[in-house]
């Protein structure tokens, strides 16, 4: 107490100075900064109960002069106080506390300054006069120091947070796009940024653990057959056209599978490259899976934290959307645009929910649209199949032109370009809310691309099988060639070692893994090119054309046919997702692919931001993106699984090539794990692994996991139900409050019907169903006869206590019973708080004697 008052005096001084701005400025105390004045009151608010702490804080902030003042006044005052008696002291203390509290809450009062100042001065004088008795100033300095450090730490943390948010790349760009085009377009860019992050991590993994060791510590180019361009190809190996096809020098570089040596350990670090290659391949998938699922879980969390916010959408938009911190005119423009867009979005939402139409016509149109689209999908699937078959015959022919070689890719790209707009025009028949329409569109384009992808894979598999067959032949040839070479050189000099065959001359097997890798890289590159060209032509050139040719054209280009393009969210999102799928599929066979993708995403971000801002117009119907990005994540997850399948299949069942790649010479690729366990780990580890791999152990484990999934699912469903019920309760409560203030009795027509039907003396009971019955605080207009039993019962219910409401008169409760009964009719299954038997709700206007 003594300590507190000492600081109190110091703080009062400071407070006095702060409040008395016009008086003290001219003095040295005016050196105080505005923020110090600001920080003190917060602490006041937080700790007004804990007076000592509060006053010590204020005291700590004071100048040295303050402390000196306080100590001097303390000493002067203490002499006055000895004369007071005990009770007077106590009473004085109380008054002093009151005044102190007044001082601390002075900031919170909405009085005018003059009034505040006068009241404050009075209170401070009083406190100053009578507090002398209670002073002690020891230990204050240390405490003050601690408080200062705490404050500095809080400030530091806050600055760090600000800094971190500034570091998020492209944040300003995305905000700009968002303010002009709405949140759904911005969600695409946020997705793009997230993908970029994931790809960066994958790239780091692959680059650091596979490519760098091989390049630094492995055998250099030209030392091994697999690393050298074969003699036959060396003449053309540097040609651009060959390089563009990813043959030549690029094929025999660290970008592709074939370059890697199958030496068990390389370099002085004994780095186990094959093992690393295998593990990195697996962990790419593992990491992606984890990241996608974590993101989905986080989104799901946010969306269920909605709570009550649907009730005040427009009000909040109106009153809280302006950011008072904006000082920059351009930001202000952006903010205005975004507020306008946001209002429009909400208006669209509102209008959609008010529409009602002819159901049958709608259904018919929708079925028709779906039929048409299925036809399109089948048509495209057949077209691709046909083209792939043709390309297989082409590859047998000798004289293939450029078109025939790239026919498959061209056809696939064309399909990807023209089918989505076709789907969109057909979808206009369906007349969905734009957000739902977007989802359908995405689903359809997804089906289209899926067909493409799997046909492509089938073609590839055919290719691989061919190569495998070829390999056997080549293996024999190589073997005999080498043998022949040894024999011939041995013939000259049997004791000397034979000169090694130049690596470029060794006959090579067809390295099917590298071929696969090359195919994926080619596909990715062509995809990138097509995307960029589409944006350039479809958006930019179109915008230029419309803008400039409009002057001399017959009809208004801007309003009529070509007009400006709208940003195609669905097409772009799917492009991104499928691109990622191909990366996942190809990264095992072409480690350099992820690097290419990282570059692509980076340039794509800037390029698309520019294109959007310069040549697109906002959608005619602006709609808010659904709060959770889970739809995109769901697609991504699906693609991840689908791309895992081919890779897993090839790892498990196809034998690796005999002369290229880190697994050459093994029977299956996963043998590397076996080898590592046997040779590198102590014996017991091998035993453990062999036990764990026993089917008898694995099957029960799988069973256990399935059961866990089932259980968690059931629990989550129960939570959702409870959540929904709580929401309903809050809704009911809101309506009750409204009705109470309206003083109209009740607005529910059902209740009014009920009141007409029933006379006061014969009102029957209806079972108490909801806890909110007790939450009603003031009586309604009508007051029918009470039922004593129920009233007592409800008072005793646990919910009443929790709510803190006063005991409501049973008549009140009774009146609300039928109303809630009516409204509750659709939800018969909900659990009731007092464990009453759940029965089917009675019909309207009738009560039953449940109790």
């Amino acid at each position: 107490e003594d300590n507190g008052s000492q600081q109190n005096r110091a703080s009062r001084r400071k407070n006095y100075q702060r409040k008395n701005r016009d008086g003290k400025k001219a003095r040295e105390e005016g050196g105080q900064k505005k923020d110090r004045g600001k920080t003190a009151p917060t602490k006041d608010q937080k700790e007004s109960e804990n007076k000592e702490k509060k006053t010590t804080k204020r005291g700590k902030e004071g100048e040295k002069k303050d402390r000196k003042n306080s100590t001097s006044s303390a000493s002067s005052n203490s002499s006055d106080e000895e004369s007071l008696s005990e009770e007077e002291l106590a009473m004085l203390k109380e008054q002093v506390e009151q005044k102190k509290k007044l001082i601390s809450t002075m900031r919170n009062k909405p009085w005018r300054m003059v009034k505040k100042l006068s009241v404050l001065r009075e209170a401070q004088d009083f406190v100053e006069k009578f507090e002398g008795a209670l002073g002690k100033g020891k230990g204050k300095k240390l405490y003050a120091y601690k408080m200062m450090m705490a404050k500095k730490w809080v400030k530091f943390k806050r600055d760090f947070e600000n800094f971190k948010t500034q570091c998020i790349p492209w944040e300003m760009k995305i905000k700009e796009v968002e303010s002009h085009f709405g949140s759904s377009v911005a969600s695409y860019f946020i997705f793009l940024r997230w993908m970029y992050g994931v790809n960066l991590v994958l790239f780091g993994l692959i680059f650091g653990l596979v490519i760098i060791p091989e390049v630094l510590m492995g055998m250099p180019y030209g030392s091994l057959p697999r690393k050298t361009v074969p003699r036959a190809e060396q003449a053309t190996a540097m040609d651009f056209s060959v390089l563009w096809d990813f043959e030549g020098y690029i094929k025999y570089s660290a970008l592709f599978y074939g370059y890697y040596n199958n030496q068990r350990t390389i370099g002085w670090l004994k780095y186990r490259l094959p093992m690393a290659y295998f593990m990195v391949g697996i962990s790419v998938f593992g990491y992606s899976l984890m990241v996608v699922i974590r993101s989905m879980a986080r989104n799901a969390n946010e969306s269920t934290a909605d709570g009550d916010d649907n009730n005040f959408i427009f009000s909040w938009k109106m009153f809280t959307s302006w950011d008072y911190l904006i000082g920059n005119p351009e930001t202000a423009d952006n903010k205005f645009a975004s507020i306008t867009t946001s209002f429009k979005e909400s208006i669209v939402d509102e209008q959609e929910s008010n529409k009602d139409e002819n159901i049958h016509l709608r259904r018919f149109l929708r079925v028709l649209a779906n039929v048409l689209i299925i036809c399109c999908l089948c048509g495209s699937g057949y077209l691709i199949y046909f083209v792939v078959k043709r390309s297989q015959t082409f590859s047998k022919m000798q004289n293939v032109g450029w078109y025939e070689r790239n026919e498959v890719e061209i056809v696939m790209s064309l399909l990807g370009m023209f089918c989505p707009p076709l789907f969109e025009t057909i979808a206009a028949l369906e007349n969905y809310h734009p957000r739902i329409g977007l989802k359908w569109q995405l689903g359809r384009i997804f089906a289209l691309f899926l067909g493409n992808l799997y046909t492509f894979l089938l073609a590839l598999m055919d290719d691989v099988n061919e190569k495998l067959a070829e390999e056997d032949v080549v293996r024999n040839i190589t073997h005999w060639t080498l043998l022949g070479h040894h024999n011939s050189s041995a013939g000259n000099d049997s004791t000397a070692t034979p000169p090694p065959l130049d690596p470029a001359d060794v006959p090579r097997g067809p390295c099917w893994e590298t071929t696969v890798g090359i195919e994926f890289v080619r596909l990715t590159v062509s995809d990138i090119l097509v995307t960029f060209i589409t944006i350039l032509v479809g958006d930019f050139i179109r915008a230029c054309f419309v803008r400039f040719v409009n002057y001399c054209w017959c009809w208004d280009l801007e309003a009529g046919f070509p007009s400006y393009a709208e940003f195609d969210i669905s097409g772009n999102v799917l492009g991104l997702v499928f691109n990622q799928g191909m990366i996942w599929m190809g990264s095992f066979y072409a480690p350099g692919l992820v690097g290419i993708n990282v570059l692509r995403l980076l340039t794509s971000m800037y390029f698309q931001c520019w294109a959007v801002m310069s040549s697109n117009v906002p959608h005619a119907r602006v709609f808010k993106a659904s709060k959770s990005n889970n739809f995109y994540m769901g697609l991504l997850l699906l693609i991840l699984f689908l791309s895992l399948l081919p890779v897993a299949y090839t790892i498990m069942s196809l034998p690796p090539s005999f002369d290229c790649g880190p697994f050459s010479g093994k029977k299956r690729m996963y043998d590397v794990i076996q080898e590592t366990i046997e040779l590198d780990f102590p014996l017991f580890v091998a035993k453990i692994f062999s036990y764990v791999a026993n089917p008898g152990l694995i099957i029960p484990a799988i069973l256990l996991m399935v059961l866990t999934i089932y259980y968690l699912n059931a629990v989550s469903k129960a939570y959702q139900r409870a959540n929904a019920e709580l929401k309903k309760k809050m809704q009911m409560q809101r309506e009750e409050e409204k009705n109470k203030r309206n003083n109209k009795g009740s607005t529910n027509p059902m209740l009014q019907d009920l009141e007409d039907l029933l006379t006061p003396s014969t009102k029957t009971e209806s079972p108490p169903k909801q806890a909110e019955d007790k939450k009603i605080e003031s009586p309604n207009g009508t007051s029918p006869v009470r039922k004593p039993g129920r009233g007592e019962f409800q008072a005793g219910s646990p919910m009443a206590g929790g709510r803190g409401a006063a005991f409501t008169p049973p008549s009140q409760v009774f009146v609300t019973q039928p109303r809630t009964l009516g409204i509750r009719a659709p939800y018969p299954g909900q659990p009731r708080p007092w464990g009453h038997p759940l029965g089917p709700l009675p019909g309207r206007g009738r009560g039953q004697a449940y109790y």
Binding site: R21, K38, F319, I326, F336
Partner: protein, 160 residues
């Protein structure tokens, strides 16, 4: 505080004295205050200044000036901010936010980019959502009730 006085002073160096010990009666007109960089872009700047001004005309004495910044600061409590927010949005100062006030607010927020029917729709929705006592306009209790549930209010209504 000293800094605040410095700002106040530089807006009209001839008028504002450095020494306030004699409690002079100096007021700055609204035009000068509106041009402060913190307020310049704000669509509600006139209303803000008016609601802090003692004479209701928009001229702020130094006390009012400090008052204004203290409420807008991040340290002021939520209730206080809500009170002043209500005053700001109440254009005709009748202590109720009626439909005309809402329309003016909306126009200022969107710089008149919404059509008339959109404006009416939004204002009707707002009254429907927030009006508890059914008098067709928002009293302070309604406003407070609605604002206290809003997550964004403190985030935006704060000046550092």
């Amino acid at each position: 505080v000293y800094r605040l006085h410095g700002r106040y002073h530089e807006m009209a160096p001839n008028v504002v004295p450095m020494d306030y010990t004699k409690d002079p009666d100096v007021k700055l007109p609204m035009q000068l205050i509106i041009n402060m960089p913190e307020l310049k872009e704000n669509p509600f700047k006139e209303r803000i200044v008016e609601s802090f001004s003692e004479d209701g005309e928009g001229s702020l004495s130094f006390n009012d000036f400090v008052d204004m910044f203290s409420v807008l600061s991040e340290m002021a409590p939520r209730e206080l901010k809500a009170i002043y927010a209500f005053k700001i949005y109440d254009f005709n100062t009748d202590n109720f936010i009626c439909k005309a006030d809402l329309e003016k607010t909306l126009n200022k927020l969107t710089r008149e980019e919404l059509t008339a029917e959109e404006i009416t729709l939004v204002c009707e929705k707002v009254i429907e959502e927030a009006d508890m006592d059914g008098d067709g306009k928002l009293g302070f209790a309604d406003f407070e009730n609605m604002i206290s549930k809003a997550p964004d209010f403190l985030r935006y209504y704060v000046k550092k």
